[in-house]
Structure formats: structure tokens, C-alpha cells
Symmetry: D2
């Protein structure tokens, strides 16, 4: 028997939840990660590169090529998520044995994306869990890039104007609103979006997390260490103002990855045309859902509304085995 | 025994739901309507004036003073709700015996508001179910106006970026975003907001409506006649795109009025600072809720989340007796 | 012989140059000042009221009615010109004998404007040398106000994106961009605009100023005193960055007033449709000139390009006699 | 003796004036054109490519590598200059012997720019006479690109809010405002800007043009043919609304090229920090000059104010020899 492997490109700004997302992908059966492209975001690009290599090392998968992408958004000012993920983006737990940046590929992330998609036309799924700068530059460089993708899974954007970074804006989209808009306008491949409000509603109970992190494996120890800071923050009163519903553990990026890995994960969704508000004093970077079909866009995306939480938990558990 | 009467100013753009709201107020016990101020909105100011007089005539209350307010928004282009409420704003059912505009007061609406509030300082509740132009001009003319109000009840705005007029914008706010912003910034009196999404969620079943309109009274006959067009539209597929949830009869403006009339109507609410997005390609006119407290505003409004539907129904029933 | 007097309303935010402008009007023959309406602007409304009364007292014209207008712009944040005109708006030279605010009229500025224009329909010229808040509220309250004016003369706005307050914005327009836009959109009476760039180009030589202020009159002494601070600033290197051309004494507001007083003052002008940019990170408040006729506006204004400087000087000289 | 050649990359949207600019460069002594990169703009990218090859063919310089760049702006809607330069961008005079697109390089424009700059670090002058999309993508892909340039010469932008495409916007900047902003923010190499207003003021007399085009050379015949349509338009009443001053022949792009070729061409200029207004109803795409130094930018550009017209004419004459 010959089952076709899912081919992935993962675009990250690693970040604790990006780390979780990568580890979920590494643990999934029948998946081939063709490259991990790094982008500014939760922390500086240099930290993102280092963090990504640390995750791969813990999983013994330093064979996967890691690429250096855009260090800055197209036009937006710098956003900083350092208060949540730690200054180094990975919980501020120093690792003296972190792999060196000499392990990075020479080719730039954008060009690697284009090359991989060209060589695997119609077969590659792109999972984007960072600001969308790399994707926006890629489509500008090669307008045919989206057509070569099998699908695009994004963690980012708001569905109900409930921001976590600005009053109405989610971090990944606010960190590069122009890039987010370019991607939502130009990527006409099948597109699935895990929004901030959705991820809040599908948070997992802390009791699951306690059990999840208690396993006696190297990966679990690593995850426990890097997620300690953000989990403490996530239980704070201040953080409760950011969330729209659902107290508990919100592994944001994992929702997009899990949906990409398992076609049966999404149990409820809307299909709607979307764009991004680029002007606006308070709403800049907010995703706009055109339920009234006023924008006359033919391309619609899948807005995730519910997932099979048990499958999600199992994926998380497998990731730390 | 001597119970204090609730003193009201009602600012309207009559409109079928404004008509319902006025009739609910007229039927309420212990209420004194000190004036009805008219504003552009659902239809032309001239139609709004005529419609308001028609409603008062049916209820035998032409003694209530009606004032002519602003025929235009501050800066916004013209919005038109004529497709829903009818060209004349009241279901396009001509009334040859409609009262003449000579019954209007000479004083302008804005000046009447200021005078009534001054003469009844601390005792007047303002119920605003139209674009907020009159209120914005009033506070600009007399910055102390809001302090003289007991409370302000508004139908308008979005809480979840789910527009009914533009992708993210509700009609009353989009019809004069600058006025809405001025009101939310300057009216520091206790303020209660019935948003579009809230009103959708609390829609009433069509079975109730059928019963409600079937009474053998002059008022019920009038209501049946003027609401026929909009209720047909409300059951159409096209209209379903506008609503965020809750199929059924949505008497928008009545939610704000009912909350003003009965302090126990609101059963769940949020207190949050709000403003209005004035820039923005898609989000202009959208209400912004500052749950994260990034705007550092001390004044918070009450965002209605749930009401006692049985009380609401009883008020509607009383209105047609 | 019976010559018709010019009837004026003057809207001010007094300000050294407003003081000069008022004194030029008071010295003009055949002019009747029906009222001076005060607006926030160069300094707080309270200071503006006090300064206006001080100017009238020096000229023995406390008989002219002075009205209290809007203390705040419609929506804009507070601008401060205190560094140029002094904290009190009039050069920070205390006057222990300043007239008290009890001399003010009871009627509000906006209502006074409307009443005066109604009672003198077609005969009143409005000279506006402040942020345009009062005018914007007036037209909102009574849309027929502009039609009752003989003409409108404005000091404000940019013609070449050369700001003095923001990179592209002039003080009076930036201090209330929404009001400026409302006025340029709704005042369809003959309208004359003295822009910032124009006033810079037509600056007067310092040698004239020295002679002008050296006269041995009470008015000259007053003018010398209140203008000392701003003239020192006007000769500074920092100020040179604000001006587009023309070193020397720029009596901004006087250009608008002088044009209103003498129909032959303007020797060159453009007729062009104008509006105001309300959005924009850098250009908010900038006047937009539609030379290409893309906005399809039928109403055009007169943009002043040159004036008879000798006549202007003579008016200034007469003002201090 | 060994004189160093000027090394150029030319970024074009050919266009009649781009054609003139390329021909001026080809005729200049001691110049080496390392590549011509094509961008959407005056006409479709396909036309731009074809037009560029036609120009090179007339000049017998098809050896110069031509690269295909971005077919679309980052985010802006499509602008069309087809009414001025003709539908094909080159005066709508069909050429049955036009070279085929098989002559284009395989490498993409952006990557070619980066490679050329890397291989000639510090020695390449970039002359950009098109929307700035290619440059913006290049700097996003390689943030060190600007540092490798000797200088950047741009035709584009406004200095006095006098638009030729929108009320305040010049074509090249309006055609991709985000790209223009990225370039003005990130290209910290010595930068020289020939604005729309400047080019209008330095227009050449029609008498010169008549003489210029009358030479009996193949190049003159070609120029006469392709410029016939635009020159007719340039003499029309409609066109006069676009120009700020100076009637006559405006070879826009040539000003930027000529300044790049001859360091002594610019005889007057301002040094000022600049950016681009991205929001704005009327001013989107307008260049903003920060004379007041409010933006606190350390990098300043050279805004061309005057040039040696005799040298310019001689360059144009040499181009058609
Ligand atoms: Ca992430
Ligand atoms: Ca209403
Ligand atoms: Ca003034
Ligand atoms: Ca060009």
C-alpha cells in the first residue's frame, strides 16, 4: 500500500504556540515537512530562527530545512509580544546547547517557498502561524504561487472585532496588516482561518494541560519549560481582558496546524469573503467578514467555528511522546 | 401616593421600529414624554416628521410636542434604508388623513432638547433611536447638556463587527459616524446601548408577532399595515445575510426604549468603554469596544447582552391595546 | 448722499493677528460690526473672550456685542498655539484693568450668528479667522444660514501642503478639520480664502513693522506690547521651517479681513473647488484644491493669490491711529 | 587614462517619457546599463516589456538585459494612464517588427536588481521612473539592498499637493502608494526626486521640441511617431488642469535620468525628510515633505528645484542622433 504523504511548508514566528504547532506536525503520521520559513513576529527574526532550531533539535529533526524570511513588516510599526511569550519568544529559559544559526539554509524563505511550491505543484499545504509578510512578498514576486498550493491554513485575524493587541486587532494581522490584506486578496487557493475569537472559544481545560505536561519525556520537559511563563500570564486577570470567551489553555497556532493535518478536525465553519481593514484608528488590521456580500468577491475562505477537541488533544499528546 | 413620572425625550427617525418604540412609550404607565425630536435617517426628515405625527394621531396624543431636527448628517454621505422601511419610512401605505406639518413646534429640535433638559435638570431620560446628529449638535452647542440628563438609551452600533449597512457598520451609526463618535465621547451620563447584534439575538418568534398583530384595535390595525413590508423583507433570504443570529422579528428601537422604561428589563450586560471608528474603508462607523482598556477612558457604557423577553412582549402587547 | 455700510460678523480666536484684524475692521470707514463671535483656538475660549474684550476696550468699542461660542472642536484633539501667541493668546502681557466677562452677551455665538444673518439677510459678510467650529454648528442647526450671507472670508488652510502645525496642515483647519470640511462643503455663498502659504508670500517687511509700531498712540502702544513675543518668535530660525516663502511680518488674519473690507484688495486669485482631507496620517486637515475637477463640485471658492500691499499697509496704519 | 563608467539599473514602465529617458541614457558617454527592470504602470506589464524592447531595438542595444518585474501594485487598485501614453503605452503606433518577449531574461526583475547590486556593491545608480513596486519588494526581500546602491533617482511624487491623477496625487506614487512609502522609508542611500510640480515648472518650449523631432535620423522618426499622441494631449485644455505651472513639453522621467547621468545638472534643490500619505480620501499617495522636522527622520532626500535646461536639451538632442 502506498499512502500519499501530506507535504507541508510551515511559516512561523516561533513563539510558544508555534513550537507546539511544529511539534504537532512532527508527530503526525504521513506528513513531510518540506521547509520551515521564519518571519518576524512574536520576537526578533534572529530569535525566531534560533527558537525554531531548538524545537527541531528537541525532536531530533534538524534535517528539516529552516529558512530566514522577512525581518520586518511591509509598513507597520513594530509590535511586541514579548510580554507574553518572553523576550526570547520561548519563555525566557536559556538553552546553552541551542543549535547555531549556521544550520540555516542559504536560500531566502520567500524564494524557498516559491521553489518548493513549483517543484511540488498542487501538493503543498502552507500553514502560516506568523505575520503574513513572507507570503505577501512571495505572491508579489510570483503571482502564480497561490495556484500552486493545495491549501493555506492561517492562524490570525478577528471575526468579532475583539482584539488582543489593539482594540479590534489580533496580533498576527496587526503586526503586518498590509501583508494580511495582500494574502487574503491574492491567495485564491482553499483557505482556512483559525481566528483569535475562535481559538479563545475552543480553549482546552487547564486540567488537560497539567496532565499533558506531566509525561516523562524529553519533549514534555521542554514544553513544560518553555510554556511556563505564558501559561502563568494566561491565568492572570490582565489577560482575561484579551479573550472573548473560554478560559483555559489556548494553543492558537495549533488550531491551524491541526486542521491542516486532519481534514476531519473542523466540525463547523462559515464560508465567507474576507479582507483586512488597513485604515482606521482602532480597526487597522482587523479582519473584515463580508457576510452581506457587499464586496462582490468570488473567493471565500473557510472560517473555523468548531473543531473536534478530542482529536486536537490527542494530537497534542502525541506531540510530546 | 405620589409616584414620580419618568420624563422622556425621544429622538427618532420614524421608521417602523421607531413607531413601535413610540407606541410602547405611550402605553407605559407613569411616563411623561416631554418632546419628540426628529432626525434624518430611515427616510427624509420631512417623512420622519409626518410619520411621527401619524403615530401620535393613531394614539390620540398629538398634544406631545414634535420638533424638527437636522436634515443631514455632519459629514457622512446619505444612507438609505428605504428598501426596508419603505420609501416613506412607514411601509408605503399612504394615509390621506395624515396630520399636517403645521402641527410641528417652531423651536428647533436641538434647542428644544437643551431647553427641556435645563428645565428638568437631572430628571430627563433621552432615548435615541436615530442617527445621533441632533445629540451631537446639542452637546456642541451646550457642553453641559449630558450632565443634565438622567440617562441616555441608544439603539445603534455593532459589538461584533457584523454590519447591516456596510460590512462592519450598523445603520444609525454609519448614517452619521462623526455624530455617533461625538455622543460616545461626550455624553458621560449613564448610557445604555442596544446594539445591532444584540437586537438580532433577542429577536422574537414570528408566532408572537402573528398573535400581537391580530388584536382588533385601531392601533393593531395601524401597526399591521405599516409593518407589513418590513416583515416580508425580514423573512427574505437576502435579509438573513444581515443578521448575526436569531431569526424572527427584530423590533430594534424597542429594545432601547423598553430598557429606558423599565429598569429591570436588562438581565445581562457588559460595562466597557466605547468609541466609534471614523476612518476605515470597511469599518467606518463601527462601534469599538475597548475591553482591553487601551483607550484609557474613564467613562464606560452599559452594553446590553440580555433582556427579559416576557416583559418586552408585554410592553409590545400593551402598545397596541 | 447715502452710502450703505458693510455689515460684518467676525468669528475669532483672539490671538495677536485676530486682534490686528479686529482693529483694522474698527478703523475702516462705513463698516458696522454686528457681532464678534468667539471660538476656541489660539488659546482657551475663556482667554479668547477676555482678549476680544481687551481689544475692544483699547478701541473704545465695548458697545460691540461679543458672544461665547464653542469651547472645543467637533472631534479633533486639542491643538495649542500657545508657543507663538503666548499662553494667554495675547503675548503674555498681563492687563490688570482687563474688562470682565460679565460684558459678554447671554446669547450663544451660534444662535447670535443665525439671528443676525436672518435679520440682515443678504447683507452680512462673515469674516472667520479661527477654527471653523462655530460656523459648522451654525449650518448644522440652520442649513439656510449660508444663503443669508453676502460673503464669507476665511483665514485658513493650505494650498501647497506646506503645514505650520502638522506636516501638511495649517492651524485653523487642523484645529477642527471636520468643521473646516463642513464649512467648505456647505457654505455655498461667495467664499474667499487667505491660505497659510499665501499669507507667507505676502508678508510685510520688518522695516514697515518698526515704523508701524512706533506711532505715539494708545493703540500702537497696545499693539507693540501684545505683538512683541510673537514677532520675536517670527524672526527665529525655528519659525523659518514653518513658512513656505517670504520672510517678514505675517499678519495672517488681517489678509482675510482686509479683503472683506475692500473689494479691490485682491489683485490675483484662482477659482477652484475645495474640500478638506479628514483621513490621513500626515494630511489630516489639509485643504484640497480640485484643479482637475475630479470632485465634480459646482461651488468654487476664491483662493487669494495676490493683494495690493500698499492698501493693506494703509489699513494697518489706520488701525493704530 | 581610465574613466570609471557610471553603472545604471533603470526601472521603467515604458511609457513615452520612459522611452525618452532610456534613449538619453543610451546616448550618454561613459554609462553602462547593467539591466532594465520592468514594472506595471503606464500600461500593462506585457506592454511595458514589449515597449522597452522596441526602444532598445531602435537604438541597436538589444544586448542590454531586460527583466520582468511586478505586474501589479502591492495593494492599490489599478490606475490607468492609457489616455495619455496611448493604450499600448507608446502612442498606439503598431510596430509589426517589434522584438519578441523571448528576448527577456529568465531571472525576475527583483532578483536581478539584488544580484546586480550585490556584484557591484557601492557602484550602481538606480533610476526609477515607474511605480516603485519592484524596489519595495526588493528591499523587503533583502533589507541590505539600499546600502549597496550608490544613489537612487526617482521620478514621482508631489511637492505642493498638485496631483495629476487624483486631486493631490502624482501617477507613479498613486499607482502604488505602499511601495512609494516603503522606498522613501527604507532607501537610505543618497536619493534624488524629480516631482510632478518640478517637472511642470521645467517644461521645455514647444519650439525646441519641433526642432528636436525634425532631425533626419531613425531615432528621431521613432520618437516623433511614439510621442505624437501624448504631445497632442499635452497641448489640450483638459491637460492644462493637471499642470501646476509651465506650459510646454514635460519629459518627466528624463529629469530623473538626466540628474543621474550628470551630477552638475541640478542647480537648486531642497534637502528634506519625506514620506507618503497612505490613508486619506483625497491625499492617498501624496508625497509629504517634512519641512518642520516633525517626523524626526534622519534621512533626507534631495528634492530637485531647478536644473540646467541647456544641458538637458543637449542630452535630448544627443539621444536622437
Ligand atoms: Ca505564531
Ligand atoms: Ca430608528
Ligand atoms: Ca485667528
Ligand atoms: Ca515612467
Amino acid at each position: 500500500e502506498c499512502r500519499m504523504k501530506k507535504k507541508l511548508i510551515i511559516d512561523v514566528d516561533t513563539g510558544v504556540d508555534d513550537a507546539q504547532s511544529i511539534m504537532v506536525a512532527l508527530a503526525a503520521p504521513d506528513v513531510e515537512i518540506l521547509g520551515i520559513t521564519c518571519c518576524h513576529g512574536n520576537t526578533s527574526l534572529e530569535n525566531v530562527l534560533k527558537n525554531t532550531l531548538r524545537v527541531l533539535k528537541v525532536c531530533n529533526r534538524l534535517d528539516i530545512p529552516v529558512y530566514k524570511g522577512c525581518p520586518k513588516p511591509l509598513l507597520a510599526g513594530k509590535q511586541n509580544a514579548g510580554d507574553f511569550h518572553g523576550k526570547d519568544g520561548l519563555g525566557d529559559v536559556p538553552d546553552p546547547d541551542a543549535p547555531g544559526l549556521d544550520l540555516l539554509q542559504e536560500k531566502r524563505a520567500v524564494q524557498a517557498m516559491l521553489k518548493i511550491a513549483k517543484e511540488n505543484a498542487g501538493e503543498v499545504t502552507l500553514v502560516a502561524t506568523a505575520p503574513l509578510t513572507n507570503l505577501a512578498v512571495a505572491v508579489q514576486l510570483d503571482p502564480s504561487f497561490p495556484k500552486k498550493l493545495k491549501g493555506l491554513y492561517i492562524m490570525g485575524g478577528n471575526t468579532e472585532s475583539r482584539g488582543n493587541t489593539t482594540p479590534c486587532g489580533e496580533f498576527n494581522f496587526v503586526a503586518d496588516p498590509e501583508a494580511a490584506c495582500i494574502v487574503l486578496e491574492r491567495f485564491t487557493c482553499p483557505t482556512y482561518i483559525a481566528s483569535w475569537e475562535f481559538s479563545c472559544r475552543r480553549s482546552l481545560p487547564w486540567s488537560f494541560v497539567d496532565e499533558w505536561l506531566s509525561k516523562d519525556t524529553e519533549k514534555a520537559a521542554f514544553m513544560k519549560k518553555i510554556s511556563s511563563l505564558s501559561m502563568t500570564k494566561a491565568r492572570s486577570a490582565e489577560y482575561q481582558k484579551e479573550i472573548t470567551a473560554g478560559k483555559g489553555f489556548n494553543p492558537c497556532d495549533v488550531f491551524a496546524m491541526a486542521a491542516a493535518l486532519d481534514d476531519s478536525l473542523i466540525t463547523d465553519s462559515d464560508e465567507v469573503a474576507v479582507t483586512v481593514e488597513l485604515a482606521g484608528t482602532h480597526a487597522r488590521g482587523m479582519m473584515v467578514l463580508d457576510y452581506m456580500e457587499l464586496l462582490k468577491k468570488s473567493h471565500k475562505v473557510v472560517i473555523m467555528k468548531n473543531v473536534d477537541s478530542e482529536k486536537l488533544k490527542q494530537m497534542l499528546i502525541n506531540a510530546l511522546k
